[in-house]
């Protein structure tokens, strides 16, 4: 069968910066294929997709060498419009690519642009909506949809163009595991019905469940591995890609040593943050009700739950960004309402989901000084704190960091900078809202390591969709679902609770299964690498690396 997408020895250099983003990459995708493209941040994954859908060279000014064929014809000779009927593209964040005010208008957008007759457009909307199961949403405004729903709507909008292939850029980054599974199932079905799919994703393990036909692993723009999954699991760099637990076990000898997590003081005093019968909501709508919860001053707490369950809402109450409509929120034993903004700012360092939200200064130095100056600290103290904070997030050896405009840092660096901004206020508790979405494993590991090791920080509360991250870094996990706290337990206890994982927008990863099968002696569970080493000693003949990749 002829290839739908064929990239041969392609190199790309962006003219705006003169940077080479891709060096000699290749990819062949046939009908029925599901190809996975992975690699560290900035390795050129998105650039590869732009080559395939024609944004390069048609929209971006870039120098391209090599060959890019779509449907057997070179991309360079065709317009993006022509290509869009062959290759459909889903960008990373559905919020940014949805252009319609209503769901129906959004799905119609592509066919409208093609100038199709109205009857045909209506027919396509009905067909596509039925197919991905969003028929009930057609009249809803897109502004009011949850993250998972938006992703499905975006997918429907792409399918309405009837493409032969779809390319998807990090579809799982903002989704809860259950919604991610739903989307991947649809993509798998698209491939099974004769389409071709290219998925770019950091969360490799989740994709492996859907048996991709091939894997392309890029590093600094160059292909480092290309071929079937089995081979990839044998050679993938362990510290950089999140691999299935079985693979970790079989490659236990290569796993790097894990630094001991810093010791925590025992939790005996008054809780740092306490909810007593709290209801929270927006306007008429109550999101959470009857929440009773106490988070200790020296705890590491992960908050899990489906999109839109109210995880962010719950922790926003801690810093009074939302006030309880009923009940009471206490901070260190006294009501949060009695505290000043300043007092709260030094108790909690709150880092929002989107790092850009707070960056406005011309330089990193001024940005770091903004918060402490609002607190009325004196300049020398501010400067010393700023430098310490940068050191804590490993940004201090970046050249001229203090004078760089913050938004010119890479996305990962911006994220770390926002943590530094919080640290510079010397908070005792750090609250992170989805700290690692869309980041590769190595960045995640570094990031969490630094957040935990920061000297002034006694406790860490974080919201995440990444189950493994919660298991690895928290000593207590709270699941928010259906308007309240659905579960509150240690990672080991939670892993053992089988029923929970099929509910609450969660999905059991191979690490969950491993923790369940090999429960720790004490409450805290070992780092996955340590656990894998231990398990590999228990079972002398390591299981095959592909085990655990079958859909569960």
């Amino acid at each position: 069968m002829t290839a739908l997408i064929e990239v041969r020895d392609a190199s790309v250099r962006y003219l705006s910066t003169g940077q080479t983003a891709l060096r000699g990459a290749g990819l062949t995708v046939r009908p029925g294929d599901l190809a996975l493209v992975s690699g560290p941040s900035g390795c050129g994954k998105s650039t590869l997709l732009r080559l395939v859908n024609g944004l390069i060279p048609h929209s971006y000014r870039a120098e391209v060498t090599g060959e890019v064929l779509v449907g057997g014809l070179p991309v360079a000779g065709r317009t993006i419009r022509e290509l869009s009927t062959v290759v459909g593209t889903m960008l990373q964040d559905p919020r940014k690519q949805i252009v319609g005010t209503t769901v129906a208008a959004e799905i119609a957008f592509g066919p409208e642009n093609l100038g199709l007759p109205r009857a045909e457009i209506r027919e396509r909307i009905a067909e596509v909506a039925g197919r991905v199961g969003i028929g009930h949403l057609l009249d809803r405004a897109t502004a009011g949809l949850s993250g998972g729903e938006l992703q499905m709507v975006a997918f429907a909008g792409v399918l309405a163009m009837r493409p032969k292939a779809v390319v998807v850029d990090e579809p799982l980054a903002n989704l809860d595991p259950a919604a991610g599974l739903r989307l991947m199932r649809e993509l798998r079905r698209f491939a099974d019905e004769g389409g071709a799919v290219v998925v770019v994703e950091h969360r490799v393990e989740e994709i492996l469940e859907f048996s991709p036909t091939k894997v392309l692993y890029l590093e600094e723009g160059a292909p480092r591995y290309q071929g079937p999954v089995e081979g990839f699991l044998r050679v993938a760099p362990v510290g950089h890609v999140k691999l299935p637990f079985a693979t970790l076990v079989s490659r236990a000898a290569e796993l790097p040593a894990v630094p001991e997590p810093p010791e925590r003081a025992a939790d005996t005093t008054t809780p740092r943050l306490e909810y007593r019968g709290v209801s929270l909501g927006y306007g008429e709508r109550t999101v959470l009700s009857g929440v009773d919860l106490a988070l200790g001053p020296c705890e590491r707490v992960a908050v899990l739950g489906p999109n839109g369950a109210g995880k962010s809402t719950l922790l926003r109450a801690a810093v009074m960004l939302i006030t309880a409509s009923r009940g009471e929120v206490l901070v260190d034993g006294s009501p949060v309402a009695e505290r000043s903004v300043r007092n709260l700012a030094t108790t909690f360092g709150y880092v929002f989901q989107n790092p850009g939200q707070a960056l406005f200064s011309a330089t990193v130095g001024q940005e770091l000084a903004f918060g402490p100056r609002n607190l009325g600290r004196d300049p020398e103290e501010i400067d010393a704190d700023a430098r310490a904070a940068l050191r804590a997030v490993l940004l201090d050896d970046e050249k001229d960091i203090m004078d760089r405009p913050p938004r010119t840092l890479s996305f990962g660096q911006q994220r770390r900078l926002t943590v530094a901004l919080a640290l510079a206020m010397r908070p005792r508790t750090l609250i992170l809202d989805e700290p690692t979405a869309g980041q590769d494993l190595r960045t995640t590991t570094e990031f969490m390591g630094h957040a935990l090791a920061a000297p002034s920080v006694e406790s860490l509360y974080f919201i995440t969709h990444d189950v493994d991250l919660a298991l690895t870094y928290a000593d207590r996990i709270i699941v928010v679902d259906q308007g309240g706290v659905a579960a509150d337990a240690s990672p080991a206890e939670l892993a053992a609770e089988g029923a929970l994982w099929s509910r609450a927008g969660l999905a059991a990863t191979s690490l969950v299964a491993a923790v369940r099968d090999h429960p720790p002696a004490s409450g805290a569970i070992a780092h996955p690498f340590d656990l894998a080493r231990r398990v590999s000693l228990l079972t002398p003949s390591p299981s095959s690396p592909t085990e655990g990749t079958t859909p569960s």
């Binding site: 993006i80 252009v99 005010t101 409208e112 199709l116 405004a141 709260l344 850009g356």
Partner: protein
């Protein structure tokens, strides 16, 4: 104030009209009442405007704040414009002086009052025909309405996109303010306008820059779905029905009468009882 588009008049007589009608009527009306100084003529037009506004079925609760704001500002404006300034001299010289304004010593005559009333009524009636544009057109109908009125297809879609971006911009404004509040930011209450403007930078700058960075993805997404061809279907089909044409014809006739009267010089003088 909420900036998300509010489709308050859903289901009313005007909401069932072709959105182009709702866009054209204010245009006719503006032409009709511009330059008319005769209170009786403006009142006649206002009757039509009132009827039109009633047909919009906009619930009073939803627009109470808007009307209060509009009336306050307009009243102040009219007072300033027609009582305290020289425009009063226009026909105000004749007639019996009722009283003089303290401080400015402007003489107030019946003609002056009539002139002020004309201006006020004109603004209020203009607001009445404009409110349905804001509250009776479904947000997703603006683009197609402008396109079918002859605007460039792409710019017409830009109007749709603006409505798509309004709620999300509003939401990120709040998130940005929240993010800065956590860093101890408080908006300056200083009376120095420069200082107050500077204190807005932590909000305005990240909001704008984020919107621009996100927009880059939106541009890509639109290109990738074939936006920008010469021909574009609008899924929403617009066609004037008989009632639409009647409403338009009514306002067109009113405008024609008013313009004729203006040309003949019938409405150019201030009416005094």
């Amino acid at each position: 104030m909420d900036v998300t588009p509010r489709y308050l008049g859903a289901g009313s007589f005007l909401s069932r009209r072709d959105p182009r009608v709702l866009l054209l009527v204010p245009v006719f009306y503006i032409v009709a009442v511009a330059g008319v100084d005769d209170l009786r003529a403006v009142l006649a037009c206002t009757a039509a405007a009132l009827l039109y506004y009633r047909a919009a079925g906009i619930p009073w609760r939803g627009v109470r704040a808007n009307w209060a704001f509009m009336l306050t500002v307009t009243t102040v404006l009219v007072l300033v414009n027609s009582v305290l300034t020289s425009s009063i001299s226009r026909g105000g010289g004749t007639g019996e002086v009722l009283f003089t304004v303290p401080l400015t010593h402007t003489p107030i005559t019946w003609a002056a009052l009539s002139y002020a009333a004309t201006t006020l009524v004109r603004y209020i009636s203009l607001a009445m025909v404009s409110f349905p544009v804001a509250f009776n057109i479904a947000p997703s109908d603006f683009g197609v309405a402008f396109a079918r009125l002859g605007l460039s297809q792409r710019l017409a879609y830009g109007v749709d996109l603006t409505f798509r971006f309004l709620p999300s911009t509003w939401a990120s404004l709040h998130e940005t303010i929240d993010a800065q509040r956590i860093r101890g930011y408080e908006h300056s209450r200083s009376r120095n306008p420069v200082r107050r403007l500077l204190s807005l930078r932590p909000v305005v700058i990240p909001l704008t820059v984020n919107a621009l960075i996100d927009a880059e993805d939106t541009v890509n997404a639109m290109d990738l779905r074939g936006f920008g061809g010469r021909h574009r279907t609008w899924m929403r089909e617009l066609a004037f029905d008989r009632v639409d044409l009647l409403v338009l014809a009514g306002f067109a006739a009113m405008t024609a009468v008013m313009v004729t009267a203006k040309i003949l010089g019938l409405t150019g003088t201030i009416w005094a009882p």
